[in-house]
């Protein structure tokens, strides 16, 4: 004999409540919530066709921040800067990220004597993972283990860009290539005759194991990795140096 569980009033109400909530859930499912769609756009860049003056506001009367040379000092290649926005009269001024100290600083330049371009590339350096992540059109296309700055000479965090890409001689420290960035060391004001510039470069003629924090602040990559980057990544490509990578 099968013992039947007594039917109670509360059980009936629970059934009704459950049915009601199920209907409510179905009704709620019909609502159309806003959904985010990723649509990564190429990052706007500007090529300087002449020397410029970076100013604090989109006006020729605004305070002067610094002069921005049309060519970079190491290779004499064109200066290419990330564009962060437009403003001023007729949107004729560009807010750009500037190279050098203070790290990550920005300013306004006139759009005259410039050429617009864009890049699908972006580089993210994850200091905790000691990895370099390469994105194209918002998608990760490469992850490379790297050597990052040690505790006493850390790799500076922030938003930067590639100032210039250069090939190094086989005997040079960091061979075979370097992507010189707009970042500067927060420890060294000068290093090996340079301004304490942070670069992504190779491990040639340098010690240290990939995946460690043992550099003076630069980001070192295996020769094949920096060669892959140097054949694709040019001036102006944004470089984010973060504690950890967040999509």
């Amino acid at each position: 004999m099968i013992e039947r569980r007594p039917w109670s009033r509360s059980r009936g109400i629970r059934l009704g409540v459950g049915t009601g909530l199920a209907v409510l859930a179905i009704g709620g499912a019909g609502a159309a919530p806003a959904s985010a769609a990723t649509a990564p756009a190429p990052r706007p860049l500007v090529v300087l066709l002449g020397d410029h003056v970076a100013r604090r506001a989109p006006s020729a009367d605004a305070g002067r921040i610094e002069a921005v040379a049309a060519r970079r000092p190491l290779t004499r290649g064109r200066t290419v800067l990330p564009v962060l926005g437009r403003g001023g009269r007729d949107d004729a001024w560009l807010r750009v990220r500037l190279p050098g100290r203070p790290n990550g600083h920005t300013g306004w330049i006139s759009s005259g004597r410039t050429r617009s371009t864009s890049t699908p590339w972006r580089i993210v350096v994850s200091l905790s993972a000691r990895r370099v992540i390469v994105l194209r059109d918002g998608r990760i296309v490469r992850r490379y283990p790297a050597i990052v700055g040690k505790a006493s000479t850390p790799t500076p965090r922030g938003s930067f860009f590639v100032e210039e890409a250069l090939r190094l001689s086989a005997s040079a420290p960091g061979a075979p290539f370097a992507l010189a960035t707009s970042a500067r060391s927060n420890v060294f004001q000068e290093f090996e005759g340079g301004p304490g510039q942070i670069a992504l470069h190779g491990t040639g003629n340098l010690s240290g194991a990939l995946g460690t924090a043992s550099s003076h602040g630069c980001v070192r990559l295996a020769p094949h990795a920096i060669a892959w980057l140097a054949s694709r990544i040019g001036a102006g490509v944004p470089v984010s140096i973060r504690s950890r990578y967040v999509a």
Binding site: T19, A34, G174
Partner: protein, 392 residues
Amino acid sequence: MSNHLDFTRGRVAFIGIAVCFVFTLFLVAIPIAAKAAPVNLATAQPFVVLGGAGVTNTGPSVLNGDLGVTPGTSLSGFGAPAVVNGATHANDAVAAQAQADLTTAYNVAAGQPIAPGNDLTGVDLGGLTLSPGAYGFSTSAQLTGQLTLDAHGDPSAQFVFVIGSTLTTASASSVILTNGASPCNVYWKIGSSATFGSGTAFEGNVLALTSISLNSGVTFLGRALARNGEVTLINDVLTLPQCATETSTTPTETAGGGGTTTSTTTSASTTSTVANGGSGGGKKPGKGKSAKPSATKTGGGTATLVRGKKSASGVRASVQGKRINTVTFTDNGVRVGGGGSRTVRVATTPGVHRVVALVTFNGSTKAKRLAFSFRVPTPVLHPKFGPSQFTG
């Protein structure tokens, strides 16, 4: 006894279900009621730009629709090189009635119930894909990048944005309508003023309490209607969408004609074509006479977007067809070309390019967007030698 118990437990269960069903209906009624109520522009429909205090233009803007102002009288900058393909009403009775109907439409839009999940206060519209309905911003709204409005195949689907204060779009932002969404059914109620960044490709009807400012190179498929303040244009293209006739005392527009879009690819070029299917008659808006929809009348407008070969100087895009009025090209949302040319050359900078041609026609053929995309691979770089003087 057993029967009595069965009856009792069934009755209790029924009561429970009934109570919850009523409760559920009450709760479900909230999102149902939150569906956007129809907004009717009535006699404001023929106006692509309508200002309150004035309308000011700089440069070769193109207005494909009527231009008006009231209670102000100032319409400046609309001589050459600007073009107005429509009637102009400077503080006359037509403009006054349009302003009155704009006020009514504004109030209807402002009164849309906003479901709690559709309150987007503090959310940038860029990168969102939204379904039909009413969306609210208690203060300002910002569009940075691309907003997609998905009608899910319902051409009558309505989108209403109820914005408490300002709407601002960043440069090169865009509104994309998909799956049958029509700019005729997109309304932006702005509590104060709207500002559109350079190169914005915008769609919908902007109903602003105060002013509307379009920076340089904005393409606008819809209407810019300001109640009290000014509308300011700088080298922009505004096109009235061809809409089905709304219920109003003065019918002004009829369906354009069910255009069809086909796309074919050949080894030499890619073409994207729109042809008027001729399902609806119509007339040019704003002429005051009623037009009867007719299956026999055709707009007759056709357009084909032809993609040329890629060369060092760029990719050539040209629009060919019949009864074409204006063509406006954009590359990734930024206007390219100018001067009404039907051919442009798009620079081959690395990355993906989406070239869109907004084509308007003479007659009743609906304005159409034709598009193609191409990718420019990043060239292999050969860095120059340089000194190693980095931090190491």
